[in-house]
């Protein structure tokens, strides 16, 4: 009798343990109807242990030989199914988490490797006209090579993107000195043969790619308020609000003590009517603003913003406002998730491994009620945060 009871209890506990990512960490329109547990046996802890074991084993094997080149690190891309299974994202869909692996004795971080792409550096241009002049040889070379057959369309499309990017960059430049500050803006574009310009690099090879980039210089001249355009003013306000809320969230959230937020990235979109708001990273063209923690040379400014504007995904492309308190709450939740996930790669038994997860980059989606969740395969990311493992 006892034997049967024990076996039942043991088996019940086994089946209860077999589950994916707890549903509080993800949500979304696309998951509402599918928010049920997978019936397959799966345990997130065990599965991630297998992944850790396989990755560290392989990294150790390929790291042994000496040559002029060395393996500095590896990135693993994970995706999340609608039923909470976290797996290796092997084909289409949105990335949920990126893991950056590094050797423990390596001092250098796994900085982003620059892609071989034509880049236009907007921090060097004094006006959008400067940028247009700089891009002229690029346009001419595309037309002369026959890769683009509609020169007028290409010029018009690029002109509009340059003007918009320039104004967004000016807004970032004017952002108030706070603990987190915009330090880079990037817009990746793909040019079609008909002169169309699309966002994001989606395929490998064949495409004509170009990049707009702006990075902060410490010696910039603050633009006078009267010269700022509507887009510039709204961008400045939006970025100030986001920097303020993430700064406060880190101060207030106890879980933030075990993590170091290295960088956070957000898509900033401009609506047809010229309004600026947080935009989900979709197929549309959205500049990505990168914030990082800075050591300020000047006194930090107290910024208080009541609401953060979001651009809706629907055709109306309108602004919806979310209270900054809700945004801060969302950021806090994202910190708690990062802590939860970081623990999975900081187990005692991994400490002796030469290779370890150095940076965790979860992508989150915010809904208009202010809730936040890890983005699923079918979702659209709003923010990406990069946390450095403090126990590395």
């Amino acid at each position: 009798m006892k034997t049967y009871l024990i076996s039942i209890l043991v088996l019940l506990s086994t089946s209860l343990n077999a589950e994916g990512l707890p549903s509080q960490w993800y949500f979304g329109e696309e998951t509402k109807s599918n928010n049920e547990k997978s019936s397959d046996p799966y345990d997130i802890d065990k599965s991630l242990e297998s992944l850790h074991d396989a990755q560290t084993h392989a990294l150790k094997k390929v790291d042994s030989e000496k040559s002029g080149w060395y393996l500095a690190g590896m990135k693993t891309i994970l995706g999340l199914t609608l039923k909470g299974k976290l797996g290796i994202k092997s084909w289409g869909g949105k990335k949920a988490i990126e893991l950056n692996w590094k050797k423990r004795d390596s001092k250098k971080g796994l900085e982003e490797t620059e892609n071989n792409v034509d880049t236009f550096n907007f921090s060097e241009y004094k006006s959008s006209e400067d940028a247009l002049t700089e891009i002229e040889p690029f346009i001419s070379s595309l037309v002369e090579s026959g890769k683009v057959n509609d020169e007028k369309s290409l010029r018009n499309n690029l002109r509009s993107k340059i003007n918009e990017f320039y104004q967004v960059a000016k807004g970032a430049e004017s952002a108030a000195p706070q603990a987190y500050r915009p330090h880079k803006i990037r817009l990746d574009l793909t040019v079609g043969a008909d002169g169309s310009v699309n966002g994001l690099f989606v395929k490998v090879g064949g495409d004509i790619r170009l990049r707009f980039e702006w990075s902060r210089k410490n010696f910039y001249q603050k633009e006078s308020e009267t010269l700022k355009s509507k887009i510039t003013k709204q961008t400045e306000k939006l970025l100030n609000g986001l920097a303020s809320e993430i700064g406060k969230a880190i101060e207030e959230e106890p879980a933030a003590k075990t993590l170091k937020l290295k960088e956070f990235k957000v898509g900033v979109g401009v609506s047809v009517s010229g309004s600026v708001g947080v935009a989900k990273v979709s197929a549309s063209i959205v500049p990505q603003v990168y914030f990082k923690k800075v050591t300020l040379l000047e006194k930090a400014e107290e910024v208080s913003v009541e609401e953060i504007p979001f651009l809706t995904d629907d055709k109306s492309n309108e602004l919806k406002f979310v209270s900054s308190t809700r945004i801060r709450k969302g950021f806090k939740k994202s910190i708690r998730f990062a802590e939860y996930f970081q623990k999975k790669f900081n187990k005692k038994k991994y400490r002796k491994s030469k290779w370890a997860v150095h940076t965790i980059k979860p992508s989150y989606t915010f809904d208009l009620s202010g809730d936040v969740g890890v983005v699923s395969l079918k979702g659209l990311a709003t923010f990406e945060l990069a946390y450095v493992n403090n126990k590395f």
Binding site: V62, W69, L71, A72, W91, G93, T113
Partner: protein, 117 residues
Amino acid sequence: MKMKRTLKFFAMCLVLSAGSACKKNIDDIPLIGIDGNGEVHEVSISGKKFKKFNTRAMKYTKEETLKALSSLDKGEKKSWKLDAVEVGLAAKAGFGLGNVLKAEAEPAFILVYKKRN
């Protein structure tokens, strides 16, 4: 007696269901993604099999990458200097996904090689 028999039956059912579930282990690693039609697909692979495949693929990639990089180093002098390379590895081949998916495999692992100073 009846209670004992019921418990025995219940325990046997659980043993059997757990036994059948063991075909898919809880430590399996899911490979997931969306195909060209927007459908989510997942294929689970045992941790052991994945470890073997991953090590083999990374070893092969390393050999090929270093071969290509050393031939680049030996080539004619260029005005630019290559000091970092990213190599993407896709986890599609060999896992039975075959032609089931119309979507292109995307790199799930990106190896970053840097030049020694």
